[in-house]
Amino acid sequence: MNWLKYSAPQTFYPLADTLVPLFAWPAAILTLIGLYIGFFVAPTDATQGEVYRIIFIHVPAAWMSMVIYLAMAFWAALGLIMNTRLSFMMAQALAPTGAMFTFVALWTGAFWGKPTWGTWWAWDARMTSELILLFLYVGYMSLTAAIEDTRRADRAGALLAIVGSINIPIIYFSVKWWNTLHQGASVSLTKSPSMAKTMLLAMLIMTFAFWAYSIAASLMRLRCIVREREKQAQWLNEAKE
């Protein structure tokens, strides 16, 4: 299968139009299932009571904020190496959704921190590095928007995205490396999870929902970006003639 042919706008539009609902519908359905299990099946937490239910959006959003950043840095790097314009566009299509999830992680973290720790915010390693992630997303978006020449904007943005990816392992390991107010991982790749099965299930379903949402939203955005650039090129050509 020749994937490169999909980088041509004429073939990409119909593909995007087919793919978006394939991810949007699962996102909506999984959200409903995840919330149902999260609110009606998962038990009250022994120590935190009901407020822990924020976890069903807090943790998936925080995971997505990191995963999307890595995906963005990957496409940016691929764009720099292979000089493929669609890769840069993919990086750009991911950034606002990543920023949105970073905001959600910070916001829900504050609303969870206040009743459990007594503070909306602390300058601890996990929270500070997540805030830096938000600044990286915003910085990337403003940088690419500020440079008029799309080629230069793509390259400058890609560089920022790649350098900023150092922050991701810092966020991930912050609760291990430093003594933070933020609790350690409830779910890790090496240990069995320290939560009730239904709680974990709701959290995982919400994570899949957010994954599907992210793919649908960034495909919708990618489609707009491709079309906008295509038009810009048309105008430039017409102006030259």
């Binding site: 924020i54 807090h58 959003a61 606002p96 959600v104 206040k114 919708m220 955005r221």
Partner: protein
């Protein structure tokens, strides 16, 4: 099922719903912005 106790969330309703409502607003808001962006693009194409 008593909806009063459900929305109260053990006295933490403000925090739980404050998290969920804002999350819903930004996610749905993003989709609406995207739809708008596409609509503007298509409108220009018709001209």
């Amino acid at each position: 099922m008593d909806w009063g106790t459900f929305f109260d969330m053990g006295g933490r309703g403000f925090y739980v719903w404050g998290s969920y409502i804002v999350t819903a607003i930004v996610m749905i808001g993003e989709l609406m912005l995207l739809r708008n962006r596409r609509r503007i693009l298509e409108r220009h194409e018709d001209e």
